[in-house]
Every structure is written in C-alpha cells, then in structure tokens.
C-alpha cells in the first residue's frame, strides 16, 4: 500500500477534445486522478483509451489539434488550466519532465546528447554548463550506460535504441523534477533490451523519490513499475486500485477480460507419424543477403499440413526475411524451398499461378495490407476471380461465403472501403483475402502485434478455427511469446539470421534451453509484481548491461 503522503498532482473531471472533420470531438470524458509525492501511477489501456493525452495534460500540454476543454489540473497547488503559457513552460523540463516512446525520434539528430541533456538546467539557471555536464555523466553512471563519461558526447544516431531510452530518462532527471511522465518508454524495444531500461527507470525513480505516471498497454510491464494502476477505456476510467489488488482481484468485467486474454491455449498437435509424410513447406539450408550483407545463414525447417510453426526472434533475427524467401520476393543465395516435396523457382515471377495460389500471406499492418480505394467485395473477390475464374453471381456467393467464414456480416461489409473498418475487421478482411485463393499454406507475419489484446485474441481464435476446418498449415512469425504459447505446435527460434533451436512447443518451453532461448523466455515480463526484482537477483546486477549482447 502507498503510505499517505502529500498530494502532488490532482486532476478532476478532465475533458479533452480533438479536432477532426471540422468538429471538436471529446476524446477524454471527465477523468479524475490523484498522485502523491514519490508515487508511481500506471495508466493502462488499449489504443484510443486517451492515456498519452492525459499524460500530456498533466503537463498542461495539448498536442496540435487537441485542447483541454474542461476540468482542473492542479500541480503542487498550481492550477495548470488557467496558468499562462509562459509559466507553464517554466514548469516543463524543470518540475515535470517527459520521456517519449521513441527515443531515437525524440532526440534532435543535429545536437549531441549531452547538449540536449543540459539544455533545460542551463536555461533554468540551475547549473552552469560544466556542472550540468558533470551531473549528466553522473546520471549516465547511475543508469548504467556503457562509457558514461563519453557517451553523452555522441550524436543520437551513434547510440543504440535501448541506450538512448536510458539517456532520455537521464535527461528527464536533469533538473530533478517532482514528476516524470513515461509515455510507453519500452514499447519500441525488444524484450531483452526492455529489461535493462525497465530496471534503470525503476532504480532512478526510487533513488530520487520522483513521482511518475507510467503509460503503457502492457499489463506485465506496468505491474513491475507502478504502485497504483488506473485502467482506462475510450477516454473514461474503468477502475483504479493498488497494483497487487488490481492484479489479484480486479472488480470490473473489462479489466477481468484484459487479464484473461493470455489464457487462450489450444492443444499441441504432433507431426504425422507416417515415415513417408511430406511436409507442405520445407526450407532447406537457405542463405539470403540484402546486397552484400548476409541476413540468413543456413536456415532449415519443415512445416506439415494442418500444423502451426511459430518462428520467434527479436528484430533483425531474420524471421521476416525467411518469409520473403519462401514467397519468392527475395531469392535465396543458397539452398532451396520445397513445396510438397518439389523445389519452387526462387523468384516469384517464375512461379506458376497454382504455386502462387497455394501459399498466401497475412500482414502485420492491416492498414497497408488493404488497398484503401478498393471495395471489400473486390479485395476478397479478386483472388477468387483471378485463380478460380468465378464471375457474376457465383463470385458474389463466394465473397459472401468468405465474409461469413471470417464472422463479418456480408450485407454490412460487402460494399465498404477499408478505411471505414476497425483494425480487427481489417485484419479479418486480410485473412479472407488469403482464404479466397484456397491455399494450403499461410504465412502470418506478426498478424496480432498491431492489435489490442482482446481483438488479437479474437483473431487467434479465428485462425485456429479456420485451421481445424480447412486443414491449413501456418507459419506464424512473431516476437510475442504469449502468442506462441497459445497457438503454436512447433517453434523455431532465430537469432541474427540463424536458427538457434527448434522443436515441438512443449519441449521448447521446458528447460533445458539453448542460452538464447533461455534469455528470450526469461525476459518476457510476467504479471507478478516481483518478477523484475527476482529476475534481476537471479541474473545478478552486473549482467544487465550485457544482457542484450548474449
């Protein structure tokens, strides 16, 4: 429990409007929030919940195209909604600081890191330049950045993402603010890097007893960081409670459903027992390169009919490149792809219509995967027309059937355009387009990572059902181990273009592991609030800096 302390920030009935289509529309509908000195509040919600907007409002700031339309924001006895802009500005950077989602984009490329760090302290005349620089190095030490005395004198593009995120936390600390807003600071990072940043943030907030608002969509992450958690949905508060209570016994249905998402799991299937069974897709000793840079090194694995193979790895591991080799977008430099035992031509241009038809793809970003100017009926109908030669009423029936299959009402969706649909609906259309070709094998490239958890779960269930009905083989590319746990039969772990380990799911999730698999598995945050502490103790503090380099 949080001990009773002085109130630092008190937001009452906050209303924020956004400008779209010539109208002001309310996007935050009267949220209350109380934060005490030294307390960390986790704001959690799906996209569109208004968490970032509320976080910025706590600084008296509204993005271009937004405005604070009602309520009060009281920071340490000062009413921010009526404070003139120049006084608000004096508050920002000195007493309230902000840590943005993408440090790589939020550092100015034209200036050295330390010059951006010292900008606020010098401007507020808290420190002279030399003092400020020494202080910056001190903070870099505390945040365990490599070469802390030297790293600040580099330019942002010369430093890795995880290190930049820590440097940005240091920058937020420069004036020792009373409050820091962390806006999804680890979302853009790989899991193994995420841990270092989480640990660094937690340490420094503890050391200086700074209050913080930690914004994220990841429950497990917020469980490690926050004293109190507030759940938001569409600009309204769902509930607020101390972390442990919130995790153990959420009271609202919506919160419970969020908690339950990760419970979907289906039984693992085994490979066909027959010795002469031929895999649908077989990747054999494939090397691939972009120009002179080799990105795949001797990659081999098999996918059998009706089974799901998850290909797991962090960014840059080569999992998407493998998919590009299979589809023929990137011809391998060595090795071959077999389809039902027959070698496929390496370039997609040389493949037959039937070969193209059999392997389909579903993309991560449904926004860019569907042509915004073509009606749903034509998006789904085109493959059926192109491969199956369907026309007229036959074609319409087929499209209706496909829409039924993905659980969307044909009467409602037949004539619409993609931009009118929600993210989950678009992803379903993407699935229908793949199904329209009547394939035997589908590559799912991070299909759920751009979606909110509840929606993602729906998509996973749909994919599972389709697999049962149509005996499809899936290659499931993902970085999210929770997804792997729920849907995979076999797992292939990739790192820097190589397969480090592969096998049936149950075996992969039980020790002993390959060291990299172990690192990957242990880095995935768990809902236990003590998870991070325990993990750091197990690994030993010294290993954190090197964790990502294993």
């Amino acid at each position: 429990m949080v001990p009773k302390k002085d109130v630092l920030l008190q937001i009452k009935d906050l209303r924020i409007e956004g400008y779209s289509d010539e109208n002001w529309i309310e996007i935050v509908h009267g949220v209350d929030l109380t934060l005490h000195k030294g307390e960390v509040l986790g704001l959690i919600g799906e996209s569109g919940a208004g968490k970032s907007t509320i976080g910025l409002a706590a600084m008296g700031f509204a993005r271009d195209g937004c405005r604070i339309s009602g309520g009060s924001i009281e920071f340490d006895g000062m009413e921010l909604t009526t404070t003139p802009e120049s006084d608000l500005r004096a508050l920002r950077g000195s007493r309230i600081a902000y840590v943005a989602q993408s440090a790589a984009a939020s550092f100015n490329p034209a200036h050295r890191i330390i010059d951006q760090h010292t900008e606020a302290p010098i401007q507020y005349r808290i420190q002279k330049r030399v003092e400020a620089q020494e202080d910056a190095m001190e903070l870099y030490h505390r945040l365990r950045l490599p070469n802390p005395d030297e790293i600040g004198f580099r330019y942002p593009h010369q430093v890795s993402g995880g290190q930049l995120q820590r440097a940005m936390t240091a920058m937020a600390m420069a004036c020792r603010p009373d409050l820091i807003i962390f806006d999804e600071p680890t979302t853009a990072l790989d899991v193994t890097t995420q841990i270092e940043v989480l640990a660094a943030i937690r340490d420094i907030v503890d050391q200086f007893n700074t209050a913080a608002i930690y914004i994220t969509h990841d429950l497990a992450v917020v469980a490690q960081m926050a004293d109190t958690i507030k759940v938001l949905l569409k600009g309204e508060e769902v509930e607020e409670a101390p972390t442990e209570q919130m995790l153990d016994a959420p009271s609202e249905d919506y919160t419970k459903s969020l908690w339950a998402v990760r419970s979907f799991k289906r039984p693992q299937k085994e490979r066909p027992a027959a010795a002469d069974a031929v895999p649908i897709v077989s990747v054999k000793n494939v090397d691939a390169a972009y120009g002179k840079i080799q990105v795949l090194d001797d990659v081999s694995f098999d996918i059998y009919a009706g089974m799901t193979v998850a290909v797991v790895g962090e960014s840059g591991s080569g999992k998407s490149t493998t998919a590009r080799c299979i589809t023929g977008l990137l011809p391998p430099t060595k090795g071959e792809i077999l389809f039902n035992g027959e070698a496929l031509p390496p370039r997609y241009q040389d493949r037959s219509k039937d070969q193209l038809r059999q392997a389909q793809m579903i993309y991560q970003m449904a926004d860019t995967a569907l042509n915004p100017k073509i009606r749903i009926s034509e998006i789904i109908g085109r493959p059926a027309q192109f491969y199956g030669g369907l026309r007229g009423a036959e074609l319409k029936n087929r499209v209706d059937e496909l829409l039924d299959l993905i659980e969307l009402d044909p009467a409602k969706f037949y004539n619409r355009f993609p931009p009118e649909l929600s993210g989950g609906q678009k992803q379903r259309i993407g699935i229908a387009r793949a199904l329209a070709a009547e394939p035997t094998f589908i590559i799912c490239d991070e299909v759920t990572s751009a979606l909110d958890q509840l929606v993602a779960e729906g998509i996973l269930k749909l994919l599972d059902k389709l697999q049962q009905d149509l005996n499809l083989a899936y290659m499931f590319i993902t970085h999210d181990l929770a997804t792997v746990r729920s849907i995979a039969d076999e797992v292939v772990v990739m790192q820097r273009g190589k397969v480090v380990e592969q096998g049936p799911k149950e075996k992969m999730f039980t020790p002993p592991h390959h060291p990299y698999t172990d690192l990957l598995l242990s880095s995935v945050p768990e809902m236990d609030p003590n998870w991070l502490t325990t993990l750091l103790e197990e690994r030993g503090t010294d290993s954190i800096g090197e964790a990502a380099n294993v």
């Binding site: 700031f61 993005r63 500005r89 943005a100 989602q101 100015n108």
Partner: protein, 318 residues
C-alpha cells in the same frame, strides 16, 4: 569524414558527366537542323557554290564527332568560335555581358536570400494566423505573375509616374557603384519579388514539416521557448531543404534574368541569347546555352554538397 569526401566526390563526378551529356545535346541538337547550318544561314536563295564555300569555311565537311571535340576543346579554353551574323568572336560578345548578368543576379540574390529565409522562419512561427494566410496569398500571387508583368508594373509606378528610378537599365563604364545600383534597381527588384516569394514558401514548408517531429515536441515539453524551438531545434535540421531551395532559386534567377533583361533593355547575356535565337546565330546560342546550363548545374552541385555537409548523420558517422 571519409564517407563525406566520397559522397562529395561522387556528386562532383556526376555533375561533370551531366555537363558533358548536356554539351553533347547542345552541340548535336544543331546537327538535327533540316539541311545544315550553312544552308540555314544563307537561306533558300543562296547558290550551291556560296553554300559550299561557307560549308568549307566552317569546317562542315569534317565528321560531326571531330567538330564536337574541337568545339568542346575551344569551349574549355574560352573560345566559342565566330558569330555567323556579325563575324565577331563569340567570346568577346559574351564576356562583358555575362559579367553584367552575373551582377544583376547577385544583386537580386543578396537582397532576396536573407529576406526570404528570415520571413520564412517568421511565417512558420506565426503559422495559421491571419498574417500567415495573407502572406500565403501574397506570395502565391507573386509566384504566379510573369516576370514581365511585375517588371512593367514597377516601370509604370516607380519610373514613368514617379521618376524614382530609370525605366531603362542602360550601363556605361564611367558610372559610380551607387549609380550602378540605382540604375539596375528595378530589374533587380523584379527578380527579388519573384524569387523571394518562392524561397519564403519553401522555407516555411521545410520548417513546418519538421515541427511535426517527435524531437520538436520533446523540446517543447522541455520548456524551450517557441522561437528557440524553431531556431535551435528545427532550423539545424532544415538546412538541407533550405539550401536546396536557395540553389534552385538562384538557378532560376539565371533563367528569369532573360525575360527581365528584355523588359529593362539590360545589356546582359540573356538579351544576346534572345537576339541570337531570332537571328539563328548558332555559335552564340550554343555558347549561351552551355554557360547557362553550366551555371545551373554548378548551383545544384553546390546545393547537394551543402546538404551533405550540413547533415549531422553524415557529418558524425558511427
């Protein structure tokens, strides 16, 4: 630093190749002439004998490739041959006028560049205010007006009706520098009006483009005052596009100068070119075109090199 040097050298090489290709274009375009130059110069009435004589005199009996290299070699040493009409050496006809044209362009540039960048920054700072909208309408109008329209308006109001400045920018050798500036003020002002509007709009666009970047939001959230956000955080990253805009407009000055010279009867290379075109004096046309194209390419090259040098990612490689 090795990367930068390599990039710069690559651009320089590309510039030389482009110039070479253009010299080929300019030379061989004339070869496309129906008949040949001698015929074109003398007209239909000429006897075959006179045509043949001229042909021999101009060396037209030699293969075109050979003549191209002779011409190029001459051009590189400053010898563009002889005018077909007056018989004067082309280099002599051009050199004095070329300096006049350069002077006019520089005069306009010196006024226009600082004004337009400063105004562009101010307009970006005041974006979406009434001032910004008025500036938008005014600059659009200015860009859309032909140079001769602006030129004649200025003549009408600042020369004919009020007599502040001379309507005709004639030069003489014994003029003082102040007198020179006064005489050439109207043509320079015409160029300034056209170019400033364009540069201002592009500067504004370059800066506003950057204002959407997360690092600008970060600067604002650090409590940096608005003018400093623009000057310290946006401007250093906007140099590359701004340099390109400036170069583009300076290059435009070089062409715009042709029309303005005609309006103000200014003794520059542009007027010479227009005369030569209507008289079909090909050596002069070729020489002028090559000089204009070379200046144009040189400016674009300077812009490329400038944007490479101001790019922090290239200046401080990993």
């Amino acid at each position: 630093m090795g990367d930068i040097l390599q990039l710069v050298l690559k651009r320089l090489g590309l510039g030389v190749v482009t110039l070479l290709v253009i010299s080929i274009l300019i030379f061989f375009a004339v070869e496309l002439l129906p008949g040949d130059i001698a015929q074109a110069v003398l007209g239909q009435a000429a006897t075959p004998e006179t045509v043949a004589a001229l042909r021999e005199k101009m060396g037209l009996d030699q293969p075109a490739i050979l003549r191209y290299f002779q011409w190029l070699g001459g051009a590189l040493t400053g010898d563009f041959g002889v005018s077909l009409i007056s018989g004067e050496r082309v280099t002599e006809a051009i050199s004095g006028r070329f300096i006049n044209t350069l002077f006019l362009a520089c005069y306009a540039a010196v006024i226009a560049v600082p004004i337009s960048i400063i105004l562009g920054v101010i307009v970006a700072l005041l974006r979406n205010t009434l001032f910004d909208r008025v500036a938008n309408v005014v600059t659009l109008t200015s860009i859309s007006s032909p140079e001769f329209f602006l030129g004649y308006i200025l003549i009408l109001y600042l020369a004919v009706k009020t007599n502040y400045f001379p309507a005709i920018a004639s030069l003489s050798t014994d003029m003082s520098f102040g007198e020179l500036l006064h005489r050439t003020f109207l043509p320079a002002l015409t160029l300034v009006l056209v170019v400033t509007a364009h540069m201002m709009r592009m500067t504004r666009a370059a800066i506003i483009n950057l204002l959407a970047s997360p690092y600008i939001e970060m600067a604002r959230l650090k409590g940096v005052p608005p003018w400093k956000v623009i000057v310290k955080h946006a401007l250093p990253n906007a140099w590359a596009p701004i340099i390109n805009v400036v170069a583009l407009n300076l290059a435009y000055l070089i062409t715009g100068v042709v029309l303005v010279e005609v309006v103000f009867v200014y003794p520059g290379i542009g007027q010479l070119l227009v005369d030569a075109v209507s008289k079909r004096d090909f050596p002069i046309v070729q020489a002028c075109c090559l000089i204009f194209a070379a200046t144009f390419i040189l400016l674009n090259l300077a812009a490329d090199v400038g944007s490479i040098l101001t790019n922090p990612r290239l200046r401080h490689p990993k």
